[in-house]
C-alpha cells in the first residue's frame, strides 16, 4: 500500500512539473506552429537570476518572483529577437533561429557568469520531508503538486473566461481567420511567449529546487521533457500537453521502479524509443488539436 502511495506521489509531482513544462512549449506552438528551441533557456534565465540575487537580504519569495519575471522577459525577448524577424519565412528557418538563440543564451551565460555550477538560494521547506499516509516524502514533491494544480486551474480559467484567452484559443485554431476578425497578432503572440516564460519560470523554481545549482546547460533536460510530452500528447492541444506530461512522468517513474540497475542508465533511451513508437501509432499525438490552420 505504501509503495502504491509513494508511486502516486512520485508520478503526480513529476507529472505536474512535466505538464507545466509541456504547456509552456505548446502554448507557443499552438498559435505559431513553431517550436521554441530556446525554451530551456527560460529555465536557465530564472536560475541565474536566483543566483545573482542570492546574496541580497530579500525574502526568498521576492527573489523567486524576480526569477519568474526574468523568465517572462527572456520569453518576450525570444519573440522579438528570434521569432518576429523570420516568422513569415520557412518553418526550418525559425527552428534554426531559435536553436541559435538558445546557443547564444547558453554561451552568453558561460561567457558572462561561469561555465561551472553556481548554487542558488532555496528556502528551508525544499529540503524538509513530510509524512503523508504513512509515506515519507520530500515536501517539495507536495509543493510541486500544489503549484501545478493551482497553475493549471488558473491557466484553464484564463483561457476560457478572459477575452485574451479566448482570442489566443481562436488564434491557435485558425490564425488568419482570427486576425481577420480583429485579433491583434503581435499582442497574442507576445502574450503567448510571456505565459510560456511564466510557466517556465515557475517550473524552474521547482526543478532547480531538486538540483540546488544552475549551469548553462540546465535547460536541456526541461526542453527534452517538454518536447517529448508535447509530441506524445499532441502538438496542437493544450489538454494534450498536460496529458502527455503526466503520461511521460508515469512512464519514467514506472521504469525507475521496474528496470534493473544496469539498464536504468539507459532509461532515457527507453523513454525516447517509446515516444517514437507512440508516434508511429498516432503521428498527430494522443489528443488531436483543432484542425490545422495556416500559420501567420
Amino acid at each position: 500500500m505504501t509503495a502504491a502511495i509513494q508511486f502516486v506521489i512520485d508520478v503526480l509531482s513529476l507529472g505536474g512539473a512535466y505538464a507545466l513544462m509541456a504547456l509552456g512549449l505548446v502554448i507557443v506552438y499552438g498559435i505559431l506552429r513553431l517550436v521554441n528551441f530556446a525554451y530551456g533557456e527560460l529555465v536557465m534565465a530564472a536560475g541565474y537570476t536566483l543566483y545573482l540575487v542570492g546574496g541580497s537580504p530579500l525574502p526568498w519569495l521576492v527573489m523567486a518572483a524576480l526569477a519568474v519575471a526574468a523568465a517572462v522577459l527572456t520569453g518576450i525577448a525570444t519573440d522579438y529577437l528570434a521569432f518576429r524577424p523570420v516568422r513569415t519565412k520557412s518553418v526550418t528557418a525559425v527552428l534554426i533561429t531559435s536553436f541559435a538563440f538558445s546557443t547564444l543564451l547558453q554561451n552568453a551565460a558561460q561567457l558572462l557568469i561561469s561555465p561551472r555550477p553556481r548554487s542558488i538560494p532555496l528556502p528551508e521547506v525544499f529540503s524538509d520531508t513530510v509524512t503523508v499516509l504513512g509515506v515519507v516524502t520530500p515536501a517539495r514533491n507536495l509543493i510541486t503538486i500544489a503549484a501545478a494544480a493551482v497553475l493549471l486551474a488558473l491557466f484553464t480559467l484564463a483561457m476560457r473566461r478572459t477575452i485574451l484567452g479566448i482570442a489566443m484559443r481562436a488564434a491557435a485554431t485558425h490564425f488568419t481567420m482570427a486576425r481577420m476578425l480583429g485579433v491583434p497578432a503581435n499582442l497574442v503572440i507576445t502574450t503567448a511567449f510571456a505565459i510560456s516564460g511564466l510557466l517556465a519560470g515557475t517550473v524552474a523554481l521547482l526543478w532547480l529546487g531538486r538540483i540546488g545549482t544552475v549551469v548553462p546547460r540546465v535547460g536541456l533536460e526541461p526542453l527534452l521533457i517538454a518536447f517529448i510530452a508535447t509530441v506524445i500528447g499532441g502538438m496542437r492541444s493544450l489538454e494534450g500537453a498536460v496529458l502527455g506530461g503526466f503520461l511521460l512522468a508515469f512512464i519514467d517513474t514506472s521504469l525507475n521502479y521496474t528496470l534493473p540497475q544496469d539498464l536504468l542508465k539507459f532509461r532515457d533511451a527507453f523513454t525516447f524509443s517509446l515516444v517514437i513508437l507512440i508516434l508511429l501509432w498516432r503521428p498527430a499525438g494522443l489528443v488531436r488539436g483543432p484542425a490545422t490552420g495556416q500559420r501567420t
Partner: protein, 343 residues
C-alpha cells in the same frame, strides 16, 4: 549531367584541390590540421545537405550518426594489444579484430547507414515540427547509448588508441568524392522528387511521389556520409568521448550549412569554408585573450555567441543562406550568356 552541373563540380572540386595543394606546399602544421579538419567537416556538411537540403527537414540526428561511424571504426581498428587497455570489456567476437583504418572508415559509414535505415524507416512519415523533434529525440537516444554502452564506447570516458590514419590526402579525397555524390543525388530522379515534396508535400504526394520512401533514401545516404565523416574524424583526432557528438557539434555543422545555404551543394561548400575561417579566427582570438589574461576569468563561448548571431543574421536577411538556389555553375553560365547577349 549537363554543362551547369559539370561546371559546378569542376569549380567545387577545384577549390578543394587548390586548398589541399596550398596546405601541402605551405607545410605549416597548424594550417594543415585546419584544412584536414575542414575537409572532414565538408563531408559531414554535404551529408547533412543531402537530407536537409532536399527533404527540407532539419535533422539533429546527423551528428549521432557521425558518432556511430567514429565508434564503429574505433572498435574495429584499435590495435589488439591496445584493446585490453582502451576497451577492457569488449565482446570477444570483435576484441581480436584489427582491420586497416581504411576498412574501418568504410565500415563506419556502412554501420551508420544500416542503423539509419532501420531506425528512420518509420520516422520519415512525419513532417515539419514533429519530424524535427523526433530526430532530436533520436540524437538523444544515440547519445545516451554512446554514453552508457561501456563495453563498446568506454562510457563517458575518453576512448583512445586509434591509429592516426586520416591525413590531408585522405580527407581531401573523401571531400572530393562527397561533392559529386551530393550533386548527383540532388539532380537524380529521387533528388528531384524529394525537392518537389520539400516545396509542396501534398502536391508531390498527389502526383505519385512516395514521400516517406524518398526521404528514407536521402536519410540513409546522409547517415552514410555522416558515418564516413565521423570515422575520418576519429582517425584524425585519435581519442574522443561521446561529448564530441552532441549539441555543440550539431550547432557548428548546422551553422555551416545554414549560413552557406542548405538548398545547394555550392552553399554547403561555401558555408563550410566561411564558418571554418570564422571559427578558427575566433578560437585564436579566444586563446589569445586567455593567454594575455585581459579578463579575470577564462573566456569561453565567445566563438559560439558570434556564430549564433551570424546565423540569426543570415536567416533574417537571406533566409535561403548565402547561396540559396543557384549552384555556382549555373550562376557562371548565366553571367557569361548575359554578357554574350549584350551588343
Amino acid at each position: 549531367m549537363d554543362a551547369r552541373n559539370l561546371l559546378t563540380l569542376l569549380v567545387l572540386v577545384g577549390s578543394i584541390l587548390l586548398l589541399a595543394l596550398a596546405a601541402e606546399l605551405l607545410e605549416v602544421r597548424l594550417f594543415v590540421r585546419i584544412v584536414t579538419n575542414l575537409f572532414i567537416m565538408l563531408v559531414l556538411v554535404l551529408g547533412l545537405q543531402v537530407f536537409m537540403g532536399n527533404a527540407g527537414i532539419l535533422s539533429f540526428a546527423h551528428v549521432g550518426f557521425m558518432g556511430v561511424g567514429a565508434y564503429t571504426t574505433a572498435v574495429l581498428t584499435i590495435p589488439v594489444r591496445m584493446k585490453g587497455m582502451a576497451l577492457p570489456d569488449l565482446y570477444p567476437l570483435v576484441a581480436g579484430l584489427e582491420l586497416s583504418p581504411f576498412m574501418g572508415i568504410l565500415a563506419g559509414g556502412l554501420v551508420a547507414a544500416l542503423v539509419a535505415a532501420v531506425v528512420a524507416y518509420p520516422l520519415m512519415r512525419l513532417s515539419d515540427a514533429a519530424a524535427v523533434i523526433t530526430l532530436f529525440a533520436l540524437l538523444v537516444v544515440l547519445h545516451t547509448i554512446m554514453l552508457h554502452w561501456s563495453a563498446v564506447t568506454n562510457g563517458p570516458r575518453t576512448l583512445f588508441g586509434l591509429p592516426r590514419a586520416t591525413g590531408l590526402g585522405l580527407a581531401a579525397a573523401a571531400a572530393v568524392l562527397a561533392v559529386p555524390l551530393a550533386l548527383l543525388f540532388k539532380e537524380s530522379r529521387v533528388g528531384l522528387l524529394l525537392r518537389s515534396s520539400r516545396d509542396d508535400e501534398v502536391a508531390a504526394a498527389a502526383l505519385g511521389a512516395r514521400v516517406p520512401f524518398l526521404r528514407w533514401q536521402a536519410f540513409v545516404l546522409a547517415a552514410f556520409m555522416a558515418g564516413i565523416g565521423g570515422a575520418l574524424w576519429a582517425h584524425f583526432i585519435t581519442s574522443f568521448s561521446p561529448k564530441a557528438f552532441y549539441l555543440k557539434e550539431s550547432f557548428v555543422i548546422l551553422a555551416m550549412l545554414v549560413i552557406g545555404g542548405p538548398g545547394t551543394v555550392t552553399g554547403a561548400v561555401a558555408g563550410t569554408y566561411i564558418v571554418t575561417l570564422a571559427f578558427e579566427s575566433l578560437r585564436a582570438l579566444e586563446a589569445w585573450l586567455n593567454r594575455a589574461q585581459i579578463f579575470a576569468e577564462q573566456v569561453v563561448g565567445l566563438t559560439e555567441v558570434v556564430l549564433a548571431l551570424a546565423m540569426i543574421g543570415v536567416l533574417v536577411l537571406r533566409p535561403g543562406g548565402l547561396v540559396a538556389t543557384r549552384e555556382v555553375g549555373t550562376w557562371l553560365l548565366r553571367r557569361r550568356s548575359k554578357k554574350g547577349d549584350a551588343p
